[in-house]
Amino acid sequence: MHGPLLVELGLVILGLGLLGALSVRLSISPVPLYLLGGLAFGAGGLVPLGASDEFISTGAEIGIILLLFTLGLEYTAEELVGVLRRGAPVGLLDLVLGAGPGVAAALLLGWGPVAAVTLAGVTYATSSGITAKLLGDLGWLGNRETPAVLSLLVLEDLAMAAYLPVLTALLGHTGLGGGSRSLGVALVAVALVLVATLRYGHVVERFLHSASDEVLLLKVLGLTLLVAGVAQRLQVSAAVGAFLVGIALSGPLAHEARTLLTPLRDLFAAVFFVFFGLHTNPRDLPPVAWAALLLALAGVVTKMVTGAVAARRVSLTGRLRAGTALVPRGEFSIVIAGLAVTAGVRPQLGSLAAAYVLVLAVAGPLLARGAEPLGRWWTARRASRQPAGG
């Protein structure tokens, strides 16, 4: 009876590998390709999968937990404090401009306040991990605007620490009463973890520390899943629990944990994106295509404005680059939409998010490649006009 399961899993994972190879070839984020893969084989797709569905849905759950855990690991407490001090105003602008299109779309479509909060996150989240990698791939890390872009990414991730509990609290309860209680629990938990990390981080680190990679891997993974599970029990959402564990670890331990868990995260995150695709019916995409296109257009414009403001002391080419770097890459847009769909908010929301990510998957790389030529052309044109004008 395990025959079909292994064959299906093998085919799915091998297929993901091939899609990943294609994304490296095209130097784009692999997330949209995984989504397409899921769409092709899911409900209403070409070849529906049967046997591995249960494994894939569990895998997807672990994937979302590991994605948020490694997101929490990314930064040290000092970096967070430093960035907050310098970048708060631009971060606020990013929040308002980034969330705006999502909120507007949900209200225009008449989907209600919970969908508005979800879509706000979908259009706000740039997906820091993929963006940072992209900056490296494009050779942009040394550019003058890059520190400003990276600071914004840090602030977005920090905003996630507050946003995710709010979102999951709203998703868990339709009534405002129950929602506000679990929201309270969540916010208190976030505050406690942040304080505990700054004060008692070394205690957790001493408990987890081990010279053996194997022991460290098992301890960290176990603790993350445990806290995630307990958080789910408290109705704070497993994802938020995992994120908080990530934040609680810092220093060399965080570095080791990241190195050890990255392969696992890559595997299960890929499974998660496929799962999202599997559960989105491709026939639902055309009806939301226009909305997705408009949403993507609004998203690109607002991120370009944010980038230009963040990099205001840099040359024109640099300001364009900052904007294109900030265009959402889909990873966290899908995570957020996934949380909402699992909680049973409008199914169209999942289709809209998928279509939105697919549109940006095409637009993002084109914009990024176009930024430098456009900037140079514009600068040259301005330079040739100046002497004529006096």
Partner: protein, 160 residues
């Protein structure tokens, strides 16, 4: 020369400076040990013209190549400043009695009064080699001491 240090949250650190001739260059130091060598455009010093990614080993090798000359220059400068102090560079030839033996075996300081302060091997400088350091044919030994002392080291390393 002003080296500007900029933090890159989530990635590491960046060091940038402008050369005397007006080119801006920089190094991005990743937490993983990776190094990006960045040369900026002439007409837009905010934009990278070339970015070369180096592994930790390649970064070390480049740093040592860039540092080698300065190291020897500084030693020579030292020799000029302190009267009577001489630096000598001695190649360990294939027939040297110390090819395959250690620095401790030479007992150079006791026998000549001069010190072996560095060894250049494969364009890498090994500063202050320890007594258990093993010589190989092709090593360049840098010795510091009086004229007589360094001459004795040359003698010792070539003839035994």
């Amino acid at each position: 020369m002003d080296v500007e240090q900029i933090g890159l949250p989530g990635i590491g650190l960046q060091h940038v400076f402008t050369t005397a001739r007006g080119r801006r260059i920089g190094v991005v130091s990743h937490r993983t040990g990776r190094r990006d060598l960045v040369v900026y455009q002439l007409d837009d010093p905010d934009s990278a013209a070339v970015t070369v990614t180096l592994t930790p080993e390649e970064g070390d090798a480049l740093a040592e190549i860039l540092g080698t000359h300065r190291y020897v220059e500084r030693l020579e400068e030292l020799g000029r400043q302190v009267g009577g102090l001489v630096t000598e560079q001695i190649v360990i030839g294939p027939g040297s009695p110390y090819d395959g033996r250690t620095l401790g075996d030479t007992q150079a300081r006791t026998r000549t009064g001069a010190s072996i302060v560095a060894v250049v091997r494969d364009q890498r400088v090994i500063a202050s080699p320890r007594p258990d350091f093993g010589f190989r044919a092709g090593d360049v030994v840098v010795a510091v001491g009086t004229a007589d002392g360094t001459a004795a080291v040359v003698d010792l390393l070539t003839r035994g």
